[in-house]
């Protein structure tokens, strides 16, 4: 048991170390433009992706670096993508908000809130005809719950009994605005009933809880039982984007979040179970070393060639 939890800790540290490295590179200059970090939300992708099959299709959002890593995309081409290198996972055409690596079952981030949900339905629909047994996962934030496309997708998936798991990462903020102010009933999972699908509110800071519910939802989906909505309650430790002044935070809020964020929580749990502190802390060092070297290698690579800027528009 503690072995798996140690593995979870490493997986979460890989995401956090990646994101902190991204934050540094954004401050230092190699990364430009809008970047949305998932620091504090690492347990959701780690728990969810652990029970996915390679042929399942996952559609994430612009806060999706952690999902790409959890799906097994190596960090070097991701850093290269972020820094505009030819060796970027999408040759520099995607950037932070559009990582796509189909060969890892990662069918892409998206920077239109809620737009991935109907697309995920299509990936699930394709599975009905190609014999793959594929399930599709649509990841979005609490804000996307108020987008029409998400509503359409949920009904579409339910009406057609498509194997889709809708994973709502509820980090309590729709961009800069509390979700609680934007809905009448803050229990988002409750909406599932209206579509005739199961809905569960899950502790999104506990990878094991996410894994448990995800496994169930996938089983239902693969057996023809249709979609499920998982509302994974979590909190981001970073701003909406790098540079967000976070003026919307209440006094003491970040301190409170830090006490229950997934990495600190799991670390304490492992120590309480008697795992030596040296083993626990080695995980962080290992993750940081991996990301430091991946970033350095990415920065050593040549920039995307301007002569290719028009390529890949049409077949």
């Amino acid at each position: 048991m503690s072995e798996r939890r140690l593995a979870d800790l490493l997986a979460m540290w890989r995401i956090r170390a990646f994101e902190e490295k991204v934050r540094d590179l954004r401050a230092e200059g190699p990364i430009v433009g809008s970047v949305h970090l998932c620091i504090g939300q690492e347990a959701v992708p780690i728990g969810a992706c652990d029970v996915l099959e390679p042929h399942d299709a996952l559609f994430a959002t612009y806060r999706g670096h952690g999902w790409a890593l959890a799906r097994g995309v190596p960090p070097q081409p991701l850093f290269a993508e972020l820094t505009g290198r030819a060796s970027g996972v999408n040759g520099g055409r995607g950037g932070s908000a559009y990582f796509t690596a189909a060969e890892h079952g990662f069918h892409g981030e998206n920077s239109i809130v809620g737009a991935g949900a109907p697309i995920a339905c299509g990936a699930a629909l394709a599975g009905r005809f190609d014999g793959s047994g594929r399930a599709a996962v649509s990841v979005f934030g609490d804000g996307a719950m108020n987008q029409g496309a998400v509503h359409e997708a949920m009904n579409f998936a339910a009406a057609l009994s498509l194997p889709v798991v809708f994973v709502c990462e509820n980090n309590r903020y729709s961009e800069l605005t509390p979700i609680a102010d934007m809905v009448r009933t803050p229990r988002l999972a409750g909406r599932a009933a209206a579509y005739g699908m199961p809905g569960h509110r899950v502790d999104g800071n506990d990878a094991e809880a996410v894994r448990f519910h995800m496994r169930d939802a996938l089983e239902v989906a693969r057996e023809g039982g249709g979609p499920t909505l998982l509302e994974c309650v979590t909190e981001r430790l970073a701003g909406h984007y790098i540079g967000d002044a976070e003026t919307y935070r209440q006094p003491g809020e970040l301190e409170r979040i830090r006490r229950r964020e997934p990495i600190a929580r799991l670390r304490e749990g492992l120590l309480a179970d008697g795992v030596p502190a040296a083993d626990v802390d080695a995980v962080e060092r290992r993750a940081r070393a991996e990301m430091d070297s991946a970033a350095a290698a990415a920065l050593d690579a040549p920039f995307a060639d301007p002569a290719t800027a028009r390529e890949h528009l049409y077949a």
Binding site: Y98, A102, H107, A115, G122, A126, E152, N155, L313, Y314
Partner: protein
Amino acid sequence: MPDRELTYGEAVNAALHRLMEELPETLVYGEDVGVPGGVFGVTRGLRKRYGDRVFDTPISESAILGSAVGAAMMGRRPIVEIMWADFSLVALDQIVNQAANVRYVSGGRLSAPLTIRTQQGGAPGACAQHSQCLEALFLHVPGLRVCMPSTPQDAYDLLVTAVHGDDPTLVIENRTLYAGAKERVRTGGPVAPMGGARTRRTGSDVTIVTWGAMTHRALEAAGTLADQGMHAEVVETPWLNPFDTGAVLESLRRTGRLAVVHEANLTGGFGAEVVARVAGAGVPLLAPPLRIGTPDVRMPAAPTLAQALVPGAGRIADEVRALVRQEAPR
């Protein structure tokens, strides 16, 4: 397959049957296209023949188009119907931000070979939200392909080409043509390459460039002008992306006068792009180029009002006649 006598709508149906037969990865879906066979009857018989590959959907354009993007990314070839082009506006995100971006943003590692069948344009009694001509919106978006067939043969051929192609493609049909006269249609031919123009009538005095349902009115106008000794060449460009600029220039080098006729309203219409390309190519013209389209007005419901706006054969003939009679610029 022998040639068959088909209406425009039947030709679309025949193309869908062929595509379902020869490409097992095709799917046909949309609002009322399955069991009811489509509000214009164009998808009739497909559900019965191909079962689950043809189905009805909720009235959810984002879900229809978005799922088509996702299914296409995973190797299907969805052919989805958006009942009226006006309804695509509900879900433009899935066309412009999603479908058009898949190949480019993934660095060519994914593609979205989906075909969107829709129909547009005015008809007696059509209203403001069921009659707009929106091709220019889609033509402004890199990453999409767009065509507008006007004959039964092209209704068949263009759809076959679109579905065999690997780019997201809009096939914009016209409901006033669905139940038109039957014509001999070659249904089993090879898949034609994307693009190309059709010289529907030859002439030496002026080139009329047109597409969609306006082609028929332009031809009628050209007939009227011929009776008066004026010879208009009618170049139809059923493919608007890719657009056969070369065919237009070639005709213009012989006629020296250009009239672009489209049903869409003028400002930002694709006619402006055609004129700009001609100007950029430096073909010497005997008169300033002319655009004929619907003026920049919303579309009224009353037929007398609508007729006052949408170009008819009479107006096209009048304006082209005036163009030809202009003195050459000194």
